[in-house]
Amino acid sequence: MPAKVITLTIDGRDVSAREDYTILDAAKEANVKIPTLCHLEGLCDVGACRLCMVEVKGIPKLLPACVTKVSEGMSVTTDSERLLHYRMTIVELMFSERNHICSVCVSNGHCELQAMAMRLGVDHMRVPYRYPTLPVDASHERFVLDHNRCILCTRCVRACDEIEGAHTWDVMGRGIDAKVITDMNEPWGKSESCTSCGKCVNVCPTGALFEKGRSVGEMVKRKAFLPYLTQMREGKK
C-alpha cells in the first residue's frame, strides 16, 4: 500500500511529506538544510549528535529532526537564535571534550566537525577544555583509530553493522567516558571480525579513523560510495 502523504510547515512554508518520513527527510525534500553530523544517507538514524534539533510548535523541548517522524499539521522551525545557540554549544562541547587539534590532524580541511564549526560561526570554545588522556590504536595493518578525535557519532558502528555486516565496531562505557571499540575491546589489529573493508574509515566525519601513511590534511574521505552501496543492495531511499 502506498504511504500516505501528510502536510506540515517547515520554517513557515507548507510542505508535503510521506507519513513515514522524518523531519529531516521532509526538510531535505523541501531543500531546507538542517545541520547534521551523525546522520549519513544510507545508514539508520540514532540521534547521537543532536545538531539537527528543531523547534516544533506546541512542544517546549527541542526534537532531533533525524529521528522525529512528521505528523499532520506539524509546524517546524529549523533555524532560530535559540537553535543556533544550542548548536554552537554542542560543537564547542565536542571540541572541548577530547583533544581535537586541527592543525596536526590528517583530516584538516576535510573534517565535518571543523566545517560545522565554520558554518555555525564557532570561533572559540566557551567551555573549558578537558584534555583527557586517550589512547591511539595503530595495531591494524592499514588503519588507525585515534580516540582523541572521535565525536561518538557511531557512523563507523552503523556502517560496519548495516552495510558490511561484520559488526566489528561497538560502543563501550557511558556518557563522557564512552568510546568506540573493536570486537570485545581488543586491539583493532587482532580483530577476527574486521574485513578491512575501510567503510568505517570513510564514513568517519573527523580524523578519528584514518588510513596509515597519511600526513596532515591528506585524508580525504570517500563518502559517496556508502549510500550507493545501500541503494544497490536494499533499494532503500
Binding site: S103, C111, Q114, A117, P132
Partner: protein, 173 residues
C-alpha cells in the same frame, strides 16, 4: 589624526602567526601610516607599554611568565585579539597537557640539568591553555596560522570598521 597604538605579542606559539602577519606584504605599507607599532617581537621592545589600542596575541598561556604577560597585556590594552589557534584553542602546546610537566621535561631531556622551579627559565603551568581562560578576549582569529587575508581583514576592521568581502572565513587548523 593620532595613530592607533598596536602591539603584537608572542606567547607559547611557533611565530607562524607573525609570519602570516608579515605575509601581508605590500599591504603592510597601507597599514603602516595608520598605526604605531609599540611592541612586537619583530620590534624587540622589552616591556609591554601602557595605553595600547589593539594587542594581537599569538600563542597559548603555558608558563607563569605567559600568565603574567597576558594579565598585563589585558590591563594595558583596549582591544585584545586572540591571534591563531594556539591563543584560541591552545592547539599544539596543549598536546603536552596529558603529562605532568616535570616528568615530561625529564622524559624529553633525560637526566641532564633542567632548570626547574623559577630562575631564568619560566616554570611551566600544569596545563597549557587558551588566553580567554585567563583574560577577556575581544576578537578571535582562529587558524594555524590565520591566513594573511584574514589578518588584514581583522586589522582593517579594527582600524576603519570596514569588512572586506573577499576575506576568508575563520577556520581552526
Amino acid at each position: 589624526m593620532s595613530k592607533t597604538r598596536v602591539a603584537t605579542v608572542w606567547l607559547d606559539g611557533c611565530s607562524g602567526c607573525h609570519m602570516s602577519f608579515l605575509d601581508l606584504d605590500e599591504r603592510l605599507l597601507d597599514i603602516a601610516p595608520l598605526i604605531q607599532l609599540v611592541h612586537s617581537p619583530i620590534a624587540d621592545v622589552k616591556e609591554f607599554p601602557e595605553n595600547v589600542d589593539v594587542a594581537l596575541v599569538e600563542g597559548a598561556v603555558s608558563s607563569d611568565e605567559d600568565e603574567e604577560k597576558i594579565l598585563k597585556i589585558r590591563e594595558r590594552s583596549k582591544i585584545l585579539v586572540a591571534l591563531g589557534d594556539c591563543s584560541v584553542t591552545s592547539n599544539v602546546p596543549s598536546m603536552r597537557n596529558q603529562f605532568e610537566p616535570n616528568r615530561m621535561l625529564h622524559a624529553i631531556y633525560g637526566d641532564g640539568v633542567i632548570p626547574l622551579g623559577g630562575g631564568p627559565v619560566p616554570t611551566l603551568l600544569r596545563k597549557s591553555r587558551p588566553i580567554h581562560e585567563f583574560v577577556n578576549v575581544d576578537v578571535y582569529v582562529p587558524g594555524c596560522p590565520p591566513p594573511a587575508d584574514l589578518i588584514f581583514d581583522t586589522i582593517s576592521n579594527l582600524l576603519a570598521g570596514q569588512k572586506r568581502e573577499d576575506a576568508p572565513a575563520p577556520k581552526f587548523g
